[in-house]
Subunit: 250 residues, 2 copies
């Protein structure tokens, strides 16, 4: 059973946060950086397949993903699972639990994930003393809302083929912006994940992905999806892309 556990290397100092190197994220002022350093409590590492947060958890911490891939999901009582969105470096998780008392979804790691852990109780201080960071948190929440809107449009109104193309194009574009790929673009998901994201059965998902593979848009290899033609996927989905910059993180 994979688990989440504290790392020995207690703390990467925020000044050397690997995320800061990427231009998709906005710059911090010295003052903000100083506060965030104190806000950070430590780090956590999760193996692939580990559950990072469970639905119903009460006093979950607040995390920022430093590296790795994961996903948020909900389940119905009989086990039907719906993947809501994917989490990647720079994403904030656990905000719901912090703000509203109880997590309404679970989070699981797709690959080894390392997380930055924040002091839940200091969130109010952040709002009181660092309004620019408070604004960033709202920005992040609004951005998540926007992505969920797009997913909803996709599941509700796109055909199976369009949906699959949209999902993979979406993950590809996010991964590319975050410079997660070296050479070939490989997304660490199984077809079961795709099925649970698109609201399709595993069998039909397989047949749909096969069609995309036959068009030379993707290739499926050892529990991962390799993207061969990102633009082709976007065209197949009729999707414009997300085109963002200056994304904040904490």
């Amino acid at each position: 059973m994979p688990t989440a556990r504290p790392t020995h290397s207690f703390k990467t100092p925020c000044e050397h946060c690997p995320l800061r190197a990427n231009r998709v994220f906005r710059e911090f002022t010295a003052d903000e950086l100083d506060f965030v350093s104190k806000f950070k409590r430590g780090e956590l590492a999760a193996d692939a397949g580990a559950t990072i947060i469970v639905e119903g958890a009460h006093s979950a911490h607040l995390f920022t993903v430093l590296s790795g891939w994961g996903f948020r999901y909900k389940t119905l009582e009989d086990g039907r699972r719906q993947i809501l969105n994917y989490v990647m470096p720079g994403d904030l998780i656990g905000l719901q639990g912090t703000i509203m008392g109880e997590m309404q979804h679970s989070v699981e790691a797709l690959s080894p994930v390392s997380l930055c852990v924040f002091e839940r109780d200091k969130l109010m201080t952040l709002y009181n003393k660092h309004s620019s960071l408070a604004f960033d948190i709202t920005w992040i929440a609004a951005q998540e809302e926007r992505i969920l809107d797009e997913h909803l449009l996709s599941i509700g109104r796109r055909t199976a083929l369009e949906r699959a193309a949209y999902l993979i194009a979406f993950l590809f574009e996010r991964g590319r912006q975050l410079k997660l790929f070296n050479g070939h673009a490989s997304i660490p998901i199984t077809q079961q994940h795709v099925a649970d994201t698109l609201g399709l059965s595993i069998v039909h998902t397989n047949k749909t992905l096969k069609k995309l593979a036959n068009r030379n848009l993707i290739r499926w290899q050892e529990r991962a999806c390799e993207v061969l033609d990102g633009e082709g996927l976007k065209a197949a989905a009729g999707w414009e892309g997300l085109g963002e910059r200056g994304r904040p993180f904490i």
Copy 2:
């Protein structure tokens, strides 16, 4: 063509805001109330069917719904429409446009709607000077995210009958919390709206709603859905309800 237009009765003073009477909303301090009064620029009225915000709009205002029902939606290029969520009194709309520069969805009125209009430029002041209100905005955004998660679970994994029951139970519960019903609970939507929310065709939606009506859970009357048995709907959907209190508004 229905339109949105400024009302003559320029301003209901925030001290007498009708929303404050409802216990689902949290109390304001005198200081907060004072700021919000100055933050408010005026009011807007929209007829049923009017478009309040269009996707792509650049400098949209920030609104709070004072009365009436509406919905947020997105469309694909060929016209397929997906309703993302419904807006009701106390809901904040236009945050995306304010925070990220451009609206990614449209908003339309289902019934006559009156809106409170806020000074977009003063939002930064709110974050700087009134962190409790800033926190409320984040709360509202996180709450919207939670609802979208539930909708996604519903569309992705519930059957047509469960989905329909969930949607109507959801709208009923929100309306009830907001005390929108007097006597009989009537939700001002057409079956086309239901179809576009559930990701189903209009014909199949009709047949599905008929099943709910045959079970005496709902009755369809003159462009509206009358709820006969809210608990029965929740049971049919396998849905727990939203159970919230102390909801903030601005």
